[in-house]
């Protein structure tokens, strides 16, 4: 099962390597990882989505993260009210005749065109993972040439 964990860490060099190293050394899988500075430049916020086969593994992940000296707090969102979002940028095949079809999609799903050229368009979408996946399925009919996702960002509610 996938779990979302938020980790506040000291914003120092090498901290990401410590966190990533912990996961690889203990055989835990990271599904996605998003890191950035918080409003306090000394602190960074990591949203980590992990694959954990049971509670025991999740508990160990939490404890091991807490054990790292540079980790300030660990929040497991599995049983906590939270909101999560993901940003995707998708480059799709595009011709001007597709515009109405795309707009119909954007009426039903998240997303918008942020730029287009003669034969490609870049779509931006923000939503939870279900919304993003639904959108990507719709966009697939045009042919997705490139796709970047931030991975999940989560915040407590």
């Amino acid at each position: 099962m996938r779990h979302t964990i938020a980790v506040l860490v000291e914003n120092k060099f090498g901290v990401l390597a410590r966190v990533a190293g912990l996961f690889s050394a203990r055989g835990y899988n990271i599904a996605s990882l998003a890191v950035s500075e918080t409003f306090d430049p000394q602190i960074s916020y990591m949203t980590i989505v992990v694959e954990a086969k049971d509670e025991k593994v999740l508990e160990q992940i939490n404890k091991q993260l807490n054990k790292l000296i540079d980790v300030i707090t660990v929040t497991d969102f599995t049983k906590k009210d939270h909101l999560d979002r993901e940003l995707v940028l998708a480059k799709i095949n595009y011709a001007p005749k597709d515009k109405p079809k795309l707009e119909a999609i954007f009426n039903k799903f998240v997303g918008k065109i942020i730029n287009h050229k003669a034969d490609t368009a870049i779509i931006e979408a923000v939503g939870d993972q279900r919304q993003i996946n639904e959108l990507l399925e719709e966009l697939n009919q045009f042919g997705i040439k490139e796709l970047v996702r931030t991975g999940k960002l989560a915040i407590s509610n």
Binding site: G14, A17, R18, K56, Q60, N66, K67, I69
Partner: protein, 555 residues
């Protein structure tokens, strides 16, 4: 003040009088400062020896051990020693030189990404890029190494930082917001534990290295006495409970006593204190102590419920928690019947060996060593059969008298560790129980011992084999002794050539006299005991078996 000087002044502030190390290009400013500074550096003959010596010093004294090496190969040679300390939660600070900050990342001469390499085997590490951060970093390193669950911390100091000048400001107080170890146990949990103890019929105390780290041995004894519960220790816990106490069952696990293993398996309550249910202790997890509830006292939350399910976890310092727990137990369980059962196991399955060979039996040497010292000595060991015999056939009466690489099982640890232990406790007789395999892994430290008059006594159990691997080959690989026969130099001549005393003992009748001679000699002594070549360590639990399914050898 330049960085190199700040380093030494900071070490002095931490109370450091002796460090272990080896010079090199990227630590020249530090060595220049050491030239006339009142911290003594013991120049080992290999950086690995320096790391193990710092570790042994720490295990013997409880203080933080310090080692120092240059960049690149100097630092990588420390790694095995750092990993050894990490696995056994030993407080140590390793200082390494690094190439100048402008060269980092350029594949410069003797450059290695040392903080990267040591990240998984240190509690924490630092690369100091600015001399202004140096003093505070050193203070933090010592604080992290010695607090909570202790461990090694590495500080990597680039050459230009050692040379750079700044004001020396020593931080008197360290506070790291992201690191706040828990020392006092939760009162509610302690109450619950006390109730479980009162309700138990067959309690057993299972104590580990945490008892020694915490200095909780007296409280442990008080608890055992009060509850009248038998006590078994892990390998790391040896010395944490008096080895001759009538409630003591010896070590448990793979080469533990049969009666300790039976008692744990049949118990209805395990009181785990500063131990981590390692695989060498539990054997097959699914079958481990099926009828037992578990109270687990440990300072490291990640040790709790990692391997076995725990009924009452208590996070905190063992000494504090045991004190509170003892006070909290109102109703004492009646364990008389249980103790009789345990005594029956003791009588039925004693530790034993056949002493009928013309050859010297290793167990006999340890018995003689016990008779000679009565526990008033520090016993260091290498790794393998000799190490396991040292656990079984010598009684450790007090903490810090047994020094050995547990978690990592590092061959070559014992000799340099003994050196460190002797420097830490010069008034104590220090022995290293070695095999002919292990001793050859750091034998170069003979020069260090003789040069510094560090009089350790090395007892080589010479059987011409890498004995523990041979034992497994005998039992599980049809006696196909693949590359486990090993030759040795003439240890007597070797010791002499270094300026130490070498003795050879081939007869049982000469064992005691040789040990006596070693103790009386004011020099490093190597004794080459020619022992029975194919003696095995028993009892033995096969890896992956339940711990009451033992091969008991000839018993």
């Amino acid at each position: 003040m330049i960085g190199a000087r700040i380093l030494l002044e900071s070490l002095k502030k931490e109370g450091i009088e002796v460090i272990f190390g080896y010079p090199g290009g990227q630590v020249l400013p530090i060595f220049d400062q050491l030239y006339d500074f009142d911290i003594k550096l013991i120049l080992t003959r290999h950086e690995q020896g320096a790391a193990h010596a710092a570790d042994g010093f720490s295990r013997a004294t409880g203080k933080v051990g310090v080692c120092l090496a240059t960049s690149g190969p100097g630092a990588t040679n420390l790694v095995t020693g750092i990993a050894t300390a990490y696995m056994d939660s030993i407080p140590m600070v390793a200082i390494t030189g690094q190439v100048g900050t402008h060269l980092i990342g350029n594949d410069a001469f003797q450059e290695a990404d040392v903080t990267g390499i040591t990240r998984p085997v240190t509690k924490h590490n630092f690369l100091v890029k600015d001399v202004k951060d140096l003093a505070r970093t050193i203070a933090e390193a010592f604080y992290i190494a010695s607090s909570g669950r202790p461990g090694p911390v590495l500080i990597d100091i680039p050459l230009d930082v050692q040379r750079a000048d700044t004001e020396f400001i020593w931080p008197e107080k360290i506070n790291i917001r992201s690191y706040q170890p828990t020392y006092s146990g939760h009162p509610g949990q302690i109450k619950k534990a006390a109730k479980l103890i009162s309700a138990s019929k067959k309690p057993i105390i299972y104590a580990g290295g945490g008892v020694i780290t915490s200095g909780a041995h007296l409280e442990l004894e008080e608890l055992a006495q009060k509850v009248q519960a038998p006590v078994t220790t892990t390998f790391m816990g040896l010395g944490g409970f008096c080895g001759t106490h009538k409630l003591f069952l010896g070590m448990l696990g793979m080469h533990g006593t049969a009666y300790a293993n039976h008692a744990v398996m049949e118990s209805d309550l395990i009181i785990a204190v500063g131990a981590r249910f390692d695989d060498r202790v539990t054997g097959r997890l699914d079958d481990f102590a099926p009828g037992a509830k578990v109270i687990h006292i440990d300072i490291d939350p990640s040790s709790i419920s990692k391997n076995v399910r725990v009924d009452v976890p208590i996070v905190g310092d063992a000494k504090n928690i045991l004190k509170q727990l003892i006070a909290e137990i109102k109703k004492l369980p009646d364990t008389a019947q249980w103790l009789r059962t345990v005594d029956d196991w003791k009588k039925k399955h004693p530790l034993t060996y056949k002493d009928d060979s013309a050859m010297i039996k290793p167990q006999y040497i340890l018995q003689q060593l016990w008779e000679l010292t009565k526990g008033d000595a520090i016993i260091c060991t290498e790794v393998g059969q000799s190490q396991m015999w040292a656990c079984q056939w010598y009684q450790y009466l007090t903490p810090r008298t047994f020094i050995s690489s547990g978690g990592l099982g590092t061959m070559g640890f014992g000799f340099p560790a003994a050196m460190g232990a002797k420097l830490g406790c010069p008034e104590k007789e220090v022995f290293n129980i070695a095999g002919d395999g292990s001793i050859q892994m750091n034998i170069q430290e003979l020069a260090t011992c003789v040069a510094n008059k560090i009089n350790v006594k090395v007892l080589i159990f010479n059987n011409g084999f890498l004995g523990m691997v041979r034992q497994w080959q005998e039992l599980f690989y049809k006696k196909r002794y693949s590359y486990t026969q090993i030759t040795s130099p003439d240890y007597v001549l070797l010791a002499q050539s270094y300026g130490a005393l070498g003795l050879r003992v081939t007869k049982k009748s000469e064992v005691r006299a040789a040990l006596q001679k070693a103790v009386e000699t004011q020099n490093t002594v190597f004794i080459d005991f020619r022992i029975e070549p194919e003696e095995n360590v028993y009892p033995m639990v096969q890896a992956g078996q339940a711990i009451n399914k033992m091969i008991e050898g000839l018993a």
